[in-house]
């Protein structure tokens, strides 16, 4: 076993508050407010901005020295009031930081006190997320934020009758408020391992099965990088509050990534929407699982387009099996992406001697045989010396250079290669893309 270290060397982790910001960026008309000092929000904006090549609207309560003595409770109240007055967002998303968690600022009572003083602000929802650094990485902050959005905007119904009614209505009449009443609604909860284009691909697959997808959060319309977006201090694109209110009417919830399981369970437990979790969408088995579930749910045959894509993937697997077989690949990623890519590689005959997760929360759920452990990029550098390929975010470049190994970028941040937010690595077509990216990186 490796020696215990008391530091992170070349961290692959991002802060949970960054993950929280990311989830908030998928909600239309939202203004995100970080309760912390100014640097906290500046670093997050820079990090997300250099990955997505997009402006990142994120505000801060700008805590300073005196807050260390008196706490940041008043600053938080002022901050929420100020952003509501100045920017008129439809919804405000507030996340705590390591600093305010250490003070122990009670965000709930600050909000209640603000509402007491200014009752007119009650009409605009405020979502509070506790995202202290020690809960893990980006993924944990994102997960908590999705849960906080659900519990704030779709609170648990007070009686069982309400919730079963909400669901029955949808099952019988389909979606009441959607554009096409005959199209049943499906709730999708993507993890933060999916790119905006992955989410677009998912929506397309749902549409092929005659479903109307509502995605929470929907980065495919906010962080996908399109120029029609009006530059603005609040989130443009993303899931609307109206769409979120429709989620209890969904015929099913699909959650993607181990970390999103809880979000799917929330809707099932409180609104009786059947929940299916897909830990991965990359690889033949993973995609088959999604497609077969959809076929079963909709009682429809698999659309010809998807069958054809599957056949194309099979052909690729046959053509390149020899180049993939026995290749040793070292990965360091957030757990959901690590799970997806590792299982997809092992499925085609590659070997994964090194699998380093950014945080510990889901690694117990990995299939046996994957040597997954929590680790930073300094460990990647120590362990990947005999492998053929490194898969990690752009910060893995130091390890790759030191070991003189090819480096396929994945995860976040990727700032030194073009087009990562636009990459599709899910579904049959996306799996094929992923395998080509692996092969082409190996060939360099």
């Amino acid at each position: 076993m490796r020696e215990e270290r008391h530091y992170q060397g070349n961290p692959q982790k991002n802060s949970p508050a960054l993950g929280a910001t990311l989830a908030f960026l998928g909600i239309n008309g939202l203004l995100a407010l970080l309760h912390g000092s100014q640097g906290c929000s500046t670093f997050i904006r820079l990090q997300l901005s250099r990955h997505y090549k997009e402006p990142i609207p994120l505000n801060s309560t700008a805590l300073q020295e005196d807050s260390a003595i008196f706490g940041g409770w008043d600053q938080l109240k002022k901050g929420i009031g100020k952003v509501m007055d100045k920017y008129q967002p439809q919804i405000v998303g507030v996340m705590s930081s390591g600093l305010t968690e250490t003070f122990g600022d009670d965000m709930t009572s600050a909000l209640a006190s603000l509402h007491e003083e200014r009752p007119e602000l009650r009409s605009h929802p405020v979502v509070l997320v506790s995202a202290p650094d020690y809960i893990g990485s980006m993924q944990e902050g994102y997960q908590r934020t999705v849960l906080a959005l659900l519990s704030t905007l779709l609170p648990a119904p007070t009686s069982d009758l309400d919730s079963s009614f909400a669901h029955d209505k949808s099952a019988v009449t389909g979606m009441k408020d959607a554009a096409d009443p005959a199209t049943p609604l499906i709730a999708l909860f993507p993890g933060c391992h999916l790119s905006p284009s992955d989410i677009d691909e998912l929506k397309d697959i749902m549409t092929l099965f005659g479903l109307h997808p509502v995605v929470l959060p929907d980065l495919a319309t906010s962080l996908d990088g399109h120029l029609e977006l009006e530059p603005a201090p609040v989130v443009q694109g993303g899931t609307t509050l109206e769409e979120i209110s429709l989620l209890p009417q969904a015929v099913a919830t699909f959650s993607f990534g181990l970390s999103m399981h809880k979000a799917g369970q929330y809707l099932q437990e409180n609104y009786h929407v059947p929940h299916y979790n897909f830990p991965s969408l990359t690889g033949l088995s993973a995609t088959d699982a999604l497609i077969m579930t959809l076929a079963g749910l909709t009682k429809q045959p698999v659309p010809a387009k998807l069958s054809h894509q599957r056949s194309q993937l099979l052909d690729t697997l046959a053509d390149y099996h020899d180049q993939l077989g026995g290749k040793q690949i070292a990965l360091a990623l957030e757990t959901d992406l690590l799970y997806s890519l590792t299982t997809a590689l092992i499925e085609v005959g590659a070997e994964v001697p090194v699998a380093l997760a950014a945080s510990a929360n889901e690694i117990k759920n990995f299939p046996t045989g994957i040597p997954v452990q929590v680790g930073d990029l300094e460990e990647l550098e120590e362990l990947a010396g005999t492998t053929h390929l490194i898969i990690a975010n752009s910060n893995g470049r130091q390890a790759a250079a030191a070991l003189n190994r090819p480096h396929l970028r994945a995860g976040l941040p990727v700032f030194d290669r073009a087009g990562y937010p636009q990459k599709i690595w899910i579904g049959y077509r996306g799996t094929q893309n992923f395998i080509f990216d692996v092969l082409n990186t190996l060939a360099v």
Binding site: H6, N14, S37, G39, T42, L46, A62, K82, L99
Partner: protein, 453 residues
């Protein structure tokens, strides 16, 4: 406010009542949307370019995890400075204190990475839980043969500027003069203070210094080895190149080691020539002064010719300027060199002196950007409709949404713009973005995409 920082010459910077002036001594308001970063960021900007040192951040993951290796400071030697080290403080550390962990981390990093020194940065959380950085670093240093230097600039102390100053104090008190303290001054030698070798800026200036026979004692801290900075006290002159944020450092060096200082900018032809002349004059060597006169004429002619084709195309174009530090004002004359008029200028991270100088240099009709939030920035673009936006990476993608040519002049850039050669690179970069064929493509009419979305 800032009571414990009064020794850092802050009072003088609080006088400006001008609209749009950086509010250095006013606190940022919660929810205001200003983008001013924190004291920790300011300290790391100054110290982290020291290439053969390890930089350990004593904090939860947010401070280093989101920011390590994200600046374009370049090194001709060791790459150790690019590594991200953090104690990654967890719940247990917050309850029981993080000193033990920090102590172990310092020893482990020293053993594994063999740095020439370790800088240990405090953070909001470390300060709040009362970890004694000074004592822990001293204890660790006892077991090592290298300096372990505490940098006490937790983010909540204030803006980036405060952190710059604290880092300057650290350099003055813990680094400079610690090697050969009694050694004599090196004749015709200078320190470039506040030159971080972003995108290799320093390397664009060095050849001209060498050609003139001026010796670079150290750059503080671009492409600097720790030992270079230690012997910075041997320079005959300090040249302060990046804003006034390290004024405290040059003043201390003047008092302690009798090194006079001048301000200079190496952005643009005029400023570069002025800088070389000022350096020569301050060094006081008659032959050098004479040499420099001829040299700058020759170089100016060469560079002006090289950029003539760009100036011809760019003459009369308009720009909005939004940056910090020395670039606040030096970009005004650099853009003027290309015939570009500035319609509006603003700043967030510079000192009031830099701001006033920008105001002085700009055409009186140019507007000062008062609301420095994203919203204010967008308003200005919408009203002024400039041909070019010159700003930092934070505003880059926002600017692109307005379909306006954009030039990143801050730490995210890939190209060196300093010195004479940098002016050519700068002119080419401006030309490339202003005349890129994509702006015409972006403006083409097309049926709205709304229907298909």
């Amino acid at each position: 406010m800032f009571v414990n920082l009064s020794k850092l010459d802050l009072k003088e910077t609080c006088s400006s009542a001008d609209k749009g002036a950086p509010k250095l001594c006013l606190r940022a308001l919660p929810g205001e949307g200003a983008e001013r970063s924190c004291a920790f960021d300011g300290a790391r900007v100054v110290l982290m370019p020291i290439t053969d040192a390890a930089h350990l951040v004593h904090s939860p993951i947010a401070c280093a995890g989101n920011s390590w290796d994200n600046r374009g400071a370049r090194s001709s030697g060791s790459q150790l400075f690019r590594r991200g080290f953090t104690t990654d403080l967890k719940e247990q550390d917050i309850i029981y204190g993080g000193e033990k962990k920090l102590f172990q981390a310092i020893l482990e990093i020293a053993a594994k990475h063999r740095p020439q020194a370790i800088f240990v940065y405090s953070s909001c959380v470390a300060a709040l839980i009362g970890d004694d950085l000074e004592k822990t670093c001293a204890r660790a240093q006892e077991q090592l043969t290298i300096p372990v230097i505490p940098v006490n600039a937790p983010g909540f102390l204030g803006d980036k500027n405060i952190g710059n100053r604290i880092a300057g104090d650290v350099l003055a008190n813990r680094v400079i003069g610690t090697k050969d303290p009694e050694a004599p001054k090196v004749p015709l030698s200078i320190n470039l203070i506040g030159e971080y070798n972003i995108a290799g800026d320093l390397w664009g200036v060095l050849p001209d210094l060498q050609n003139l026979g001026i010796r670079l004692q150290s750059a503080i801290t671009g492409d600097a080895r720790f030992a270079d900075v230690q012997s910075a006290h041997r320079a005959s002159l300090n040249v302060l190149v990046c804003s006034k944020s390290l004024t405290n450092l040059v003043r201390t060096m003047e008092r302690r080691w009798q090194i006079p200082y001048i301000n200079a900018s190496f952005y643009g032809i005029r400023d570069t020539s002025q800088a070389l002349q000022d350096i020569a004059a301050a060094l006081g060597d008659p032959a050098l002064i004479e040499r420099t006169k001829f040299y700058i004429k020759k170089r100016e002619a060469v560079i002006r010719q090289a950029i003539a084709q760009y100036r011809e195309r760019l003459e009369g174009k308009t720009a909005i300027l939004f940056t910090g530090g020395v670039k606040t004002w030096s970009m005004v004359s650099t853009l003027a060199e290309l015939g570009i008029n500035i319609l509006a200028g603003g700043t967030q991270n510079s000192t009031p002196e830099d701001f006033l100088r920008m105001k002085e240099l700009m055409d009186p009709t140019a507007q000062i950007i008062e609301d420095t939030s994203s919203a204010g920035f967008l308003d200005i673009i919408a009203t002024k409709k400039p041909d070019l936006i010159v700003a930092g990476g934070k505003t880059k993608y926002l600017a692109h949404k307005t379909r306006t040519p954009f030039l990143d002049i801050n730490h995210g850039r890939k190209l060196p713009y300093a010195g004479y050669e940098g002016m050519i690179t700068f002119a080419q970069a401006v030309d490339r973005t202003v005349f890129s064929p994509v702006w015409e493509l972006l403006a083409r009419p097309f049926p709205s995409l709304e229907a298909t979305r």
